[in-house]
């Protein structure tokens, strides 16, 4: 059973199956036709040979009549056998225990069945194999007519022994031709099978390729519908499915981009009133110290929240630039160590951060975005982790790597997978934090914006060996501006 299953697996390929079916059909048909005509032709050839031999013998026999003496002498029998032998065969004459043979080729070629049939008074013949060659034996008794026409048995039997090698050769030629025909038809069947397999398999292969392309996201994939057969039906169904899918995905994309544009629009609309509010809160800040009690606290709160709101709106605008693909790199050859140092110095963090910044690492990247990323990472380390915070720079010919680590409790594995999500808050209880909740998301997008060929910048979050969160920024050292390709 397992053997059958293994065999079935081997022959279950469509091409192999078609090939087998065609070959079987071709060979079967040819075998039936060829063997049928072969057998028929053989019968005809043998029939003709036998009929000719029988009529030749019976044509010769009237010459031996009238028979004058019974029992005959041995000389009579020898003479008779000589007269009846010719180049096509020889004769055997038998009378009771006496026999005479026209040739000494075989000791006794006659079979007992044949002799019995002859003794019963009929002309009889039989094909036998003597010394590996086919021979035809024909025998008859020489009966004597009475005056009233009824025969009486004389006991004289005459046999003719004829070689059938010539007929055998004709039949062998027929067989050779039949085998040749069979072989040719097998070849033809195989060729036809391959052709038809190709005809059937090509649409199937096309379908498979199209389905793969569709699966890889190319929703514009369509098949050319050929003919009106079942495969054409499948192709048509495939095309319908693909266009439905394309329409629905397009719809979804349109809705998503509508939502994003809405956010971008809202953010832009908020900028103008926020600018005015910022100007007002600057005044409030100056006056807050002079305001008594609650009024002063309220003024400071308004000022703080306005700043937060401005930050949030700016971050939203930045994010919508990434989403719309309009974010552009301003590339420059930058001394990375100097750039990181500048970032820390501007924010007054230089004294609080352990730095390991080997000089002389020059990379082509966007210094503003590098500044945003580093500031965000270091700021987060101060805010959520615990000091001391360290910044390490390393480089190889292809990559620049900046590691920002703190000595805090590290990141929960659950948090780790969402840490770059927008508005993701690690501590759900603390719904209001100092940040907008977009900082890491923006940093992640900024890192990915840097790319060179297949190499693409990345920002990875993890935990150090001795606890504490470690954010690793990897940027290609020779970023090319790919116009914000996402």
């Amino acid at each position: 059973m397992t053997t059958w299953r293994g065999l079935a697996a081997q022959v279950s390929g469509l091409r192999v199956r078609l090939l087998l079916a065609f070959a079987l059909l071709g060979v079967t048909t040819t075998a039936v036709v060829a063997s049928g005509s072969y057998v028929q032709a053989r019968t005809v050839i043998l029939q003709q040979a036998q009929d000719a031999a029988v009529s030749s013998l019976t044509g010769q026999l009237p010459k031996v009549y009238p028979i004058a003496q019974l029992p005959p002498t041995q000389d009579d029998l020898d003479l008779l056998a000589q007269r009846l032998s010719d180049r096509e065969g020889f004769a055997v004459v038998v009378y009771r225990d006496m026999r005479a043979q026209g040739s000494s080729e075989f000791a006794n070629p006659l079979t007992s069945e044949l002799r019995q049939a002859v003794r019963d008074g009929r002309i009889a013949w039989q094909r036998v194999t003597l010394d590996g060659q086919p021979w035809l034996l024909i025998g008859t008794q020489l009966t004597l007519d009475r005056s009233d026409g009824t025969p009486r048995a004389s006991g004289l039997e005459v046999y003719s022994v004829r070689n059938l090698v010539a007929e055998q050769q004709s039949i062998d030629r027929l067989a050779t031709r039949a085998w040749l025909t069979g072989g040719l038809s097998l070849v033809l069947a195989v060729v036809l099978a391959l052709l038809s397999a190709r005809g059937v398999l090509r649409p199937v292969r096309d379908l498979g390729r199209a389905a793969r392309r569709l699966g890889e996201g190319d929703l514009t994939t369509r098949l050319t519908v050929r003919g009106v057969d079942e495969l054409a039906d499948v192709a048509r169904t495939f095309n319908d499915t693909a266009s439905t899918l394309e329409r629905q995905v397009g719809e979804l994309r349109r809705m998503e981009s509508d939502a994003r544009r809405f956010v971008a629009d809202v953010s832009h609309e908020l900028r103008t009133p926020l600018a005015a509010m910022t100007a007002v809160t600057d005044v409030l800040d100056e006056e807050a110290d002079h305001l008594p009690g609650d009024a002063g606290r309220a003024a400071r709160l308004v000022s703080q929240e306005t700043q937060n709101l401005t930050q949030l709106v700016n971050d939203l605008i930045e994010v919508s630039r990434f989403d719309s693909g309009t974010a552009r790199l301003a590339l420059d050859d930058v001394d990375v160590a100097a750039a990181v140092t500048a970032t820390l110095r501007i924010r007054g963090w230089l004294d609080r951060v352990r730095t390991d910044l080997p000089p002389g690492v020059v990379a082509r990247l966007d210094p503003r975005r590098l500044d945003v990323i580093v500031a965000n990472l270091v700021g987060n380390a101060f805010r959520h982790g615990a000091g001391p915070v360290s910044v390490r720079l390393s480089a190889d010919p292809d990559w620049v790597t900046i590691e920002v680590a703190d000595q805090g409790p590290g990141l929960d594995p659950e948090v780790l997978s969402h840490v770059f999500d927008r508005f993701y808050k690690a501590d759900t209880a603390r719904t209001r934090s100092e940040g907008s909740g977009l900082g890491l998301a923006i940093s992640w997008e900024n890192a990915r914006l840097h790319r060179h060929g297949e190499r693409r910048g990345a920002l990875v979050a993890g935990n150090g060996v001795d606890g504490g969160a470690v954010f690793t920024l990897r940027l290609p050292r020779d970023t090319t501006d790919t116009a914000g390709a996402r």
Binding site: A68, Q69, G121, T140, D145, R152
Partner: protein
């Protein structure tokens, strides 16, 4: 399912091939095929029936063929000649049958042979020899058909008429 179907197809193919091979190639030996009845022709001389290995055997003696049945019977009663004896042919007729007469039977249905000796002493083979020789000779001279019934009458009675049993 596919495996089983393929197996079935293979089986059919193998069976077909087997049938083909069983039919065989070339000229195969055959059984005995019989045609029309044996070649027949005229004979010369007088036919007598002797006994060889317990069966009736026809011998032809080269002489004028149209002897009367009585003469033929007389020749038979004289016994086999040397060349016939050399073939192992014998006669079971007792000596002293002569003279014999052959006449149409009383009811015209056949021939009646009258012999000199007793009928009861004749063996079955001897009776057959007489009947067949007489019937043949009678047919030869146009006295009666070869299948005529022949009765034998002797000194001690008669045997009922029979036909010649030789082929």
């Amino acid at each position: 399912m596919t495996g089983r179907r393929t197996a079935r197809a293979l089986l059919v193919g193998v069976l077909l091939l087997g049938t083909l091979l069983a039919t065989g190639c070339g000229v195969r030996p055959s059984a005995v095929i019989t045609g029309r009845s044996a070649v027949s022709g005229p004979s010369q001389g007088v036919g007598l029936y002797l006994i060889g290995q317990g069966e009736l055997v026809l011998v032809l003696r080269p002489m004028a063929p149209d002897l009367s049945p009585a003469t033929a019977l007389a020749l038979l009663a004289a016994g086999p000649q040397d060349n016939e004896r050399a073939q192992g042919l014998t006669s079971e007729l007792p000596s002293g049958l002569d003279p014999v007469t052959v006449t149409p039977a009383a009811d015209q249905s056949g021939l009646s042979v009258r012999i000199s000796g007793p009928v009861r002493g004749l063996s079955a083979n001897a009776t057959d020899q007489i009947i067949c020789t007489v019937a043949d000779a009678a047919a030869q001279v146009g006295l009666a058909a070869s299948v005529v019934p022949v009765g034998i009458v002797g000194s001690d009675g008669a045997q009922p008429a029979r036909r010649c049993a030789a082929r």
